[in-house]
Symmetry: C2
Subunit: 225 residues, 2 copies
DNA sequence: ACAAAAGTGTTGACTTTACACCCATGG
DNA sequence: CCATGGGTGTAAAGTCAACACTTTTGT
C-alpha cells in the first residue's frame, strides 16, 4: 500500500450504535439531536468518528459515553455501510453495532458538546434521520430480533433475573408477536439461554413467579440437518 | 466532526474477500502471495485498501480483479475487523466479504503488480497468513456454511443448473457432513432455493438426473415460533 | 444382463401446536 | 372468598430421521 497515494487520503470510520430499550409495551431506540453540521438539528443514532488510537468497539463505547452518558454496555456488531455519499463531509465508512439496555437504569444526557437533545423513540415512530441512519436502524432492528433467540443480549434488561411472564412480554414486544404461555416456556427453556434459580418474585396479589437468570455464555447452535 | 483533528488522520479501510471454490472433494480458498511490504512473500486473502472514490463492494471487486483477474463475482458481506495493530503500516479497518466461484471457469493471475503467486488452498491446509487474515478466513468459512442453506450463493458454482447428486456432494463438502439421499432431496426442496426445470442431464452409463436451477431471489425465513 | 448411479415412499421418533384447569398471593 | 396472574400436562398435527427397492442408461 502506497500510503501517500491520494486515493487513500481523507477516509474515516464511523461507529454507530442502535441502542434499544423496551418500555411501555414498545421497543424504543435512543436518538440524539445533532448540535453541529452536517445535519445540525437532525436526529441520528448514537455514534461518531473513530479515533485512530482505539479499536472499533472501544470507539463505539466512547461515542456512546460522550453523547449519552451511558457506560458499561455490551455491543454486538451488525453490518458495514460504505456508500460514497453517506457523509457529506468526508468519505466515511460506518460500522454498525446494536445494544440493548434498561432505560430505567441509565440517565441519558440531553446536552453534550455534540448533542442538544436525546430521547427514546418508539421504533415505529422514527423520524427521517441524518446520514444513512434510517437504513442502519432498520437493519439493526432485524439483527436485534435475531439476537434475542440465540444470545443473552436480553440479560442487560434483567441483570437481577427475570420471570417467564416478564420475558414473554419482552419477546412479544421485540418480535411483535403473541405466544402461548405454556409453549413459550417450553421453547425458551429448550433454547438454553436461562437457568432456573430457586427463588421467586412476589408481585401484589398474584402468585409469585419463578426467577431465572441468563447464562453467562451461550453455545452456538448447529446449522443444518 | 473536526476534519483536521489529528485523531482522525491516517485511517484507511481494507476490503478483504475470502473467495471459495469446491473441487476435488474439498472446499478451497484463493490465497495470493504478497509482492510488497508489509508481509512480503506471505500468503494472504484477496483484498487491499479501499479508494476514496469507490464504495465498499466496488472496492472489493476492483481488488479481486487487480489481484486475481476474476470478474463478475457476487459478494456477501461478513464482518468488520478493527484491532489497532491489524496492519503494521497504518490504522486500517477491514470489511470482510465472502464469495464462491467455480475455479474451472476462471483463470487466476499468478503474477500482478502486487502479487507474485496465487493458488486454491484447501481450507484445512491454510498456512499462517499475513495481517489478521486467518481470523477473517475462519469467520468467513462459518458464514459460507450459513449462507448455503439460506441464500443462492451456490448458484455461481452451477450457472447452467444442477442435479440433486451434484448439489448433495457440494453441501457435504462445505458442511463436512454426509446426508441421506432421500432426506437431502426433501430438505433442499423445502428450502425453496431451487426450481425444477424439465430437463435431465446424462452421464455415461447412468440414469439421467433431473436438472434444477437456483432461484434469482430468495425470500427471508421466519425467525421464531 | 449387468453395473452404476438416480429416483422414490413409509414408518416411528420427535417436535410443535393448541388448548383448560388449578394454585398462590394480597386485599 | 375473590380477583389477579402464574404454573402445569396432554393429545393431535406436523416435521425429521432412518431405511430398501426400482428405474434408466451404456456397455
Amino acid at each position: 500500500m502506497e500510503v501517500n497515494n491520494k486515493l487513500y487520503k481523507n477516509q474515516g470510520i464511523h461507529v454507530i450504535t442502535s441502542i434499544f430499550t423496551v418500555e411501555q409495551g414498545t421497543t424504543k431506540v435512543l436518538l440524539i439531536k445533532r448540535k453541529n453540521e452536517p445535519f445540525l438539528g437532525k436526529w441520528v443514532l448514537t455514534g461518531g468518528a473513530l479515533y485512530n488510537n482505539e479499536d472499533l468497539e472501544n470507539g463505539a463505547l466512547r461515542e456512546i459515553k460522550e453523547k449519552t452518558g451511558i457506560e458499561n454496555i455490551e455491543l454486538i456488531q451488525s453490518k458495514a455501510y460504505g456508500k460514497l455519499d453517506r457523509s457529506p463531509v468526508m468519505r466515511m465508512v460506518a460500522i454498525s453495532y446494536i445494544a440493548l439496555i434498561d432505560s430505567q437504569r441509565v440517565n441519558i444526557l440531553k446536552n453534550t458538546r455534540n448533542t442538544s437533545d436525546a430521547y427514546w423513540c418508539p421504533i415505529d415512530k422514527v423520524p427521517a434521520l441524518g446520514f444513512d441512519h434510517n437504513e442502519i436502524l432498520n437493519d439493526a432492528i432485524k439483527e436485534l430480533q435475531k439476537q434475542i433467540i440465540k444470545s443473552n443480549i436480553l440479560k442487560s434488561l434483567f441483570p437481577n433475573g427475570v420471570t417467564m411472564p416478564e420475558l414473554q412480554k419482552t419477546y412479544e414486544i421485540i418480535l411483535n408477536k403473541k405466544f402461548d404461555r405454556r409453549n413459550f416456556r417450553k421453547k425458551i427453556l429448550s433454547l438454553n439461554l436461562i437457568d432456573d434459580t430457586n427463588t421467586t418474585n412476589k408481585f401484589e396479589g398474584n402468585k409469585p413467579a419463578k426467577v431465572y437468570k441468563f447464562k453467562k455464555k451461550i453455545e452456538d447452535k448447529d446449522i443444518f440437518l
